[in-house]
């Protein structure tokens, strides 16, 4: 038993290494030095205090969207709208902070709350369509993503536009979320993210409501026969997961980005889905995988800059890492592989 547990960790790690190995071969083929490339990757992600901080900063929005997915999927709600909800949160937060302006720290709290509520509402809409009209949430959340993105476009090109570029005015200094260490870009947002991860983990596995929510997620019919209100839980899952993403958007715009601009928030939603699934919908693992994603992103930026290979090569390597990592862990479920592995161990023991 213990051995299989070790293997469950070992195999994914090995497959990630294999993915990097293939990546290095590609870099070698392009006439660059792969060892150096790895060095750049490490340096970019962990090289200095600033780099370490950057990695953490990059992981924050991913943690939020990952947790958003985690919460929704646990209740059987296939929310692909993390991106839209994230943006809704960011838009509400910045709108509030710009409207109230330089008033003091309490504005950031109001703004964060506004972001959370807006995210929740953006999650509620597909939730209503699902529970009221039975419309598949995968399609509605995708549609709502587009609407949110376009609405953000409207905000930064027209309504909240500042100056010559299509972007909103920056968040007033007083409303920004504070940094933990004055010289690093890490804000208290990351603390919120991690605490939220722990809270969701606790909620899902140590409270009665969380228990029931998971039951609904696995088998809504049996849940309703056993007296659980499926619609209520689903709606809650929509709202809460939206609110989590919205909170993330608020924390990101008030802590890291400070304004809305074209391309803001792009891809966070789907990254969140992918990483939460890689983490097998476990909230704590989601936090860890989000950090891993960030390491990959930040580190490979430096790798690209250092080696000068095209960005697309870096993207290819990143995708390979994801593919291999997930393939490694899913392989462990295959009976044939399990059999092979146990045989391997038994033979060793026999010797």
């Amino acid at each position: 038993m213990q051995k299989t547990k070790t293997l469950n960790v070992l195999i994914p790690v090995l497959s990630i290494l294999l993915a990097f190995f293939i990546g290095m071969l590609i870099i070698l083929a392009l006439g660059k030095n792969p060892i150096e490339a790895i060095g750049y990757l490490m340096k970019g992600a962990f090289g200095s205090k600033t780099n370490l901080a950057n990695t953490v900063v990059r992981s924050m929005p991913l943690i939020f969207t990952g947790l958003c997915t985690c919460f929704a999927y646990r209740c059987g709600v296939f929310n692909l709208g993390g991106e839209g909800q994230f943006l809704a949160g960011a838009m509400a937060a910045i709108t509030v902070s710009l409207l109230i302006g330089h008033e003091g720290w309490w504005v950031s709290i109001v703004a964060v709350l506004a972001g959370t509520v807006a995210g929740g509402i953006w999650g509620l809409l597909p939730g209503i369509l699902k529970t009221w009209r039975g419309i598949n949430e995968m399609i509605t959340t995708i549609m709502f993503n587009y609407v949110a993105t376009l609405f953000m476009g409207y905000l930064y090109t027209t309504a909240l536009r500042e100056g010559s570029v299509p972007q909103t005015a920056p968040v007033p200094d007083a409303t920004k979320i504070g940094r933990i260490f004055p010289d690093l870009r890490i804000t208290w947002g990351i603390v919120i993210a991690i605490v939220l991860g722990i809270a969701i983990w606790y909620f899902l596995f140590y409270t009665s409501k969380g228990f029931q929510l998971r039951a609904v997620g696995f088998n809504p019919v049996a849940s309703s026969y056993n007296g659980l209100s499926v619609k209520k839980y689903m709606l809650t899952a929509f709202i809460v997961s939206g609110a989590i993403a919205g909170l993330g958007g608020a924390a990101d715009v008030l802590g890291t980005q400070f304004r809305l601009i074209s391309g803001y928030g792009g891809g966070y939603g789907f990254d969140g889905v992918a990483l939460a699934l890689i983490a097998q919908l476990h909230p704590l693992a989601t936090v860890a995988v989000a950090y891993f994603f960030a390491v990959l992103r930040v580190g490979s930026t430096t790798m690209q800059v250092g080696t000068g290979v095209p960005t697309s090569v870096i993207d290819i390597i990143q995708a390979l890492v994801i593919i291999f990592a997930v393939a490694g862990s899913s392989m462990m479920y295959l009976p044939k592989v399990r059999k092979f592995v146990t045989n391997l161990f038994e033979r060793k023991e026999a010797k």
Partner: protein, 308 residues
Amino acid sequence: AKTEAPAAAEKTFKVAMICDSSISDGGWGAACYNGMTAAAESRGWETAYTDAIDQSAYADTMISYCDLGYDMIFAPGNQYSDAVKQVAADYPNVAFAVLNGSIELPTANIMSILPNAQQIGSIAGIIAGLMSKSGVIGFIGGMELDTTKAKLAQFTAAAQVINPDIKVVSAYAGSFSDTAKGMELAASMINEGADVFFGDASAVDSGARQAIDQANGDTVKIYDIGQPADILGQNPCIVSSVVTDNARMIAICLEKVETGSFGNEVVFGSLENGAVFLGKFNDELMSADLQAQVAEYIKQLQDGTFGK
């Protein structure tokens, strides 16, 4: 100073460009990249680039270049301003040049490069005003950038100087890469009667040109004005291009880095200093007479008497 000079001569300077679109997009990205490499070549600099990056990676990428000892970072667009300001504060010894950056942007280590969007729009407007027979002309923007808006405004104004009754139909594709959308937009504008086009949307423009060519068939009666490179001959419908000489403006920045006088300044690009100019004409599409008229109007533009 004597001991310093040879050291400076030995040093190879390095410039890096970041870009959110691809540098092989045949539009903005490519023009900026080519501008940078041309400028670098003329001054013996080394170049590097990172393209197709997400908004969230702007700062990280620049930081990486700074850490690797690059002397200048070239950011072709005002959308990078925030990230530039952030990184520039942490790396006072690195120079940052922002193309289309605002006038307020420059600091001790940031400069803006600002081609005159009004003039670009005006030139296109003049050509369109002279060429249009239907009295309807079209403009396709990518995003609602200020420079794009300025181009549209001047395009309209200049065309109306030539022909007060002219109507401008315009639209934003909301993208710089969705070629197909450019096609659809142009097709619908043609349906509205537009017969001269100008665009500020990178790859989207090539879609528009394709739609124009298709509508034209064998005889060209709907025209397109290219930018920012001189792309005459690429499509049959192109009458001329409004060219922005990025290389020239970037070279000014490079030179300032070399001499240590970089910063606190905007490099303007205009008709006056030759960084903006009109490309070659397609003689088959435009009579010599009209060409002369264009030249005349452009002269007025420079004098400030155009439309007065």
